[in-house]
């Protein structure tokens, strides 16, 4: 009994440690004071401000648009890459896969500076192209990483079976291989969206001068500590947090359901 209470206490403590700052932010999103730490009474003012602020809405739209585009392109590129690596000769597959994962372990700032250098060399620095490519560089390795295990789990004979039954290699790919690895592709896509949404460093180094995402905007807005020029951002941050939690819960619940179904079937 004591053990149980102790373990629960520790769990709560750890969770509190992780989430306290965010909770604080959520709490202070319901007061309209300019500084965090000063409670000016409960109000939804910040939320009203947030949705009335055309600039923030534009930035929100920018961020989502960028995330979707970058994630989509990365997913296509990463999936193709993973399939390519998987079906290469073993001699090439191993080094290829290792190289494809370097951006994952590479410090982001190094990636960002290299991108900046590369694009200024070809006079495309701070354009939409450099921004999108920058985000793709960020996301693609994670798509490869999430598609690869699905390919390895797949029965290698089913691609051959499709060819054997008369499918051309591309028909076999789309009718058999892609459906088999689809869950990996989807999780790669989701991962890309989250990576792109909260990226600051690469965005800051590659974005066009007059373009802002939430990260860069928030960073500039709160540069001078807690004394934010735009307190509405507290409401925005709280909303992002709540939306993320909701999405995560939904995904987990969905993942649990087929598993339960399978157990019931057996």
């Amino acid at each position: 009994m004591v053990k149980k209470i102790l373990s629960i206490t520790i769990c709560v403590a750890v969770l509190l440690f992780i989430y306290a700052p965010i909770l604080l932010l959520v709490v202070y999103s319901f007061t309209d004071s300019n500084v965090i730490g000063k409670w000016d009474g409960f109000s939804f003012d910040l939320y009203v401000q947030l949705f009335r602020d055309a600039e923030i809405m534009q930035i929100l739209f920018n961020t989502i648009w960028l995330a979707l585009a970058a994630a989509l392109l990365s997913t296509v590129l990463g999936t193709a890459g993973a399939i390519g690596i998987f079906y290469s000769k073993r001699k090439f597959a191993k080094p290829l896969q290792a190289v494809s994962q370097i951006p994952v372990i590479n410090a982001e700032i190094v990636t960002a500076i290299s991108l900046a250098l590369l694009f200024s060399a070809v006079f495309l620095y701070r354009t939409y192209l450099s921004l999108i490519v920058g985000h793709m560089v960020l996301c693609t390795p994670f798509v490869v990483l999430s598609v690869m295990p699905k390919l390895k789990q797949m029965d290698p004979n089913i691609y051959e079976a499709a060819l054997d039954l008369g499918a051309s290699p591309s028909a076999a790919l789309f009718k058999v291989v892609i459906p088999q690895i689809f869950s990996g592709i989807v999780s790669g896509f989701m991962l890309s969206i989250t990576l792109s949404l909260d990226d600051y460093i690469v965005t800051a180094f590659t974005k066009p001068p007059m373009f802002d995402t939430i990260s860069t905007y928030v960073y500039n807005a709160v540069k001078n500590g807690t004394n934010s020029s735009t307190p509405a951002l507290r409401a925005l941050s709280a909303l992002i947090f709540i939306v993320m939690i909701a999405v995560l819960l939904a995904i987990n619940l969905r993942a649990r359901r087929p598993a339960a179904k399978k157990e019931a079937a057996q």
Partner: protein, 503 residues
């Protein structure tokens, strides 16, 4: 093979080899399959049988050689263009489709020529996809063939292994291929299911009338189902023949050993239709060159047990195992082991006589690469074999071992081993044997019974008097037949292997 009727060859492999990186999976294989035949590639795992099948299916392209289908070269044709369908070992059903869609997969991709007549009365053909109704009909028929009527809507994961295998077969035959390839299709099923499916497959082959190419490592499966068996080993074909041929007339010791149980003994032809093994001459029906070294195959069920005084061979029973239909009795005849299958049992330790009828003795040409003997180690750490005693290096039996002052072997782990009377298999190369006039010099003595000039050297056979053991050797020196010589072998040229671990 030669006397067999040359029917229509549906598929023919001409000098086909396949090399993966550095390893050769299939080496210079040539054979053909006749239309409508049930042919089986049989061999241990890694013998190249699956690679051969995959080359016929088009999944692997031969490194060299040609594959002809109905006389046309299809060596480089991709698998989707070949009128061949495969049943995979682990079924390879598409898990995201239901049974109907799995079976209809090939049909939906297929295009058939349809002839139309236009307004002017001219006929023209158009390549068209099958209609929904035609596909439905074909899927239904295919499911009926494999006894799975009404399974259309089921998902793959709800099916048992046997049912999945049936779906895999239906998915292949629904396309009406000219050849059905089956890669160990029953390997993943339990014994009872396997037996049932064997009969059903055979029945299917009869009904459909298409050519079946079957791959298995199970010799019993091959014998029961096939019209023709191709036995493979290390990427090479060992023998092609009907099941009866292969069982009764194995081409070499490997085939004899792989197909069924058999006693394989070293023998020598001593006279016309007379072979000597286990220190006794036997009449036989196969004729070979006199003094030729041969492999003798005797099937365990062909050895008749008789009282010891009436037996051609006498042995002591060392084990008796009840196998259901028969007893398997192992007897030692001298230092050779004989396996006997009989409905009668015997006691362990009992002396039994054994008779072998001339037509039960099958003799095969031996590819002679070295002399092989059964021997044992003496107290003095010499080895006795072939009626002689030779100095040898017993430390080669245990890597890293050495001898102590008392002549005991100390292993690399520091264990002390007494090798006295340890049974060993001895191999001596043909060029490692010297012969000399001086009878005192060598380890064994005998007369030269045969000499053959082989272009740049002579091959001699020296036969001892006591047990008529033979030494085959290659040398450039000239000797005469009937010379009495002694046999010398250097200790480092005597290759020994322990027959069992010494405790």
């Amino acid at each position: 093979m030669n006397e067999r009727k040359m029917d229509e060859k549906i598929i023919q492999l001409v000098n086909v080899s396949k090399v993966f990186d550095e390893t050769t999976a299939v080496e210079n294989v040539s054979f053909y399959v006749r239309k409508g035949e049930f042919i089986t590639f049989l061999g241990p795992s890694g013998c190249g049988k699956t690679t051969t099948l995959r080359m016929i299916a088009g999944f692997d392209i031969p490194t060299s050689g040609k594959i002809l289908l109905n006389g046309k070269d299809i060596t480089d044709l991709p698998p989707n263009k070949r009128p061949v369908n495969t049943v995979f070992q682990r079924y390879a059903l598409f898990p995201h489709y239901n049974i109907y869609d799995n079976i209809a997969f090939g049909l939906k991709l297929k295009k058939v020529p349809v002839t139309y007549r236009n307004d002017k009365g001219e006929t023209y053909t158009k390549w068209q996809k099958l209609t929904r109704r035609e596909i439905d009909e074909k899927v239904k028929n295919a499911l009926a063939v494999v006894d799975l009527e009404g399974f259309e809507k089921r998902s793959v994961s709800t099916l048992s292994g046997g049912q999945q295998q049936r779906v895999a077969i239906a998915r292949a035959i629904v396309n009406e291929p000219e050849i059905l390839l089956l890669d160990e299709p029953l390997g993943a099923l339990d014994l009872k299911m396997r037996k049932e499916m064997q009969i059903e497959l055979k029945e299917m082959h009869r009904k459909l009338g298409i050519t079946f190419i079957y791959v298995t490592h199970d010799q019993e499966e091959a014998l029961t189902m096939s019209d023709t068996i191709v036995v493979m080993k290390d990427g090479c074909i060992q023998q092609i023949g009907t099941p009866t041929d292969i069982y009764n007339e194995p081409a070499n010791a490997f085939v004899a050993d792989f197909i069924g149980d058999s006693n394989i003994l070293n023998g020598t032809m001593v006279d016309a239709l007379t072979v000597r093994f286990c220190n006794r001459n036997f009449r036989c029906v196969d004729d070979f060159e006199r003094n030729e070294k041969v492999d003798v195959v005797v099937r365990p069920e062909d050895i008749e047990m008789v009282p010891p005084e009436q037996g051609m061979l006498v042995g002591r029973v060392v084990s008796v195992v009840f196998k259901g239909v028969h007893y398997e009795i192992t007897a030692m005849v001298g230092r050779s082991e004989m396996i006997i299958q009989s409905t009668q049992s015997r006691e362990i330790g009992e002396l039994i006589g054994m008779n072998i009828a001339p037509d039960a003795i099958h003799i095969m040409k031996k590819e002679l690469t070295c002399n092989r003997y059964d021997g044992y180690i003496t107290k003095k750490n010499t080895v006795v074999f072939g009626d002689g005693e030779f100095d040898c290096d017993v430390t080669t039996l245990y890597p890293g071992s050495h001898l102590d002052e008392d002549g005991y072997l100390i292993t690399a782990q520091g264990e002390k081993i007494d090798l006295t009377d340890a049974d060993v298999a001895v191999e001596v190369g043909l060029t490692d044997i010297e012969i000399s006039d001086n009878a005192e010099e060598g380890g064994a003595r005998g007369h030269i019974v045969s000499l053959i000039y082989k272009g740049d050297h002579y091959q001699y056979i020296v036969r001892t008097e006591e047990n008529e053991e033979d030494y085959v050797l290659d040398t450039e020196d000239l000797w005469n037949e009937n010379d009495y010589v002694s046999v010398k072998i250097k200790p480092e040229n005597i290759h020994m292997k322990l027959k069992q671990e010494i405790k």
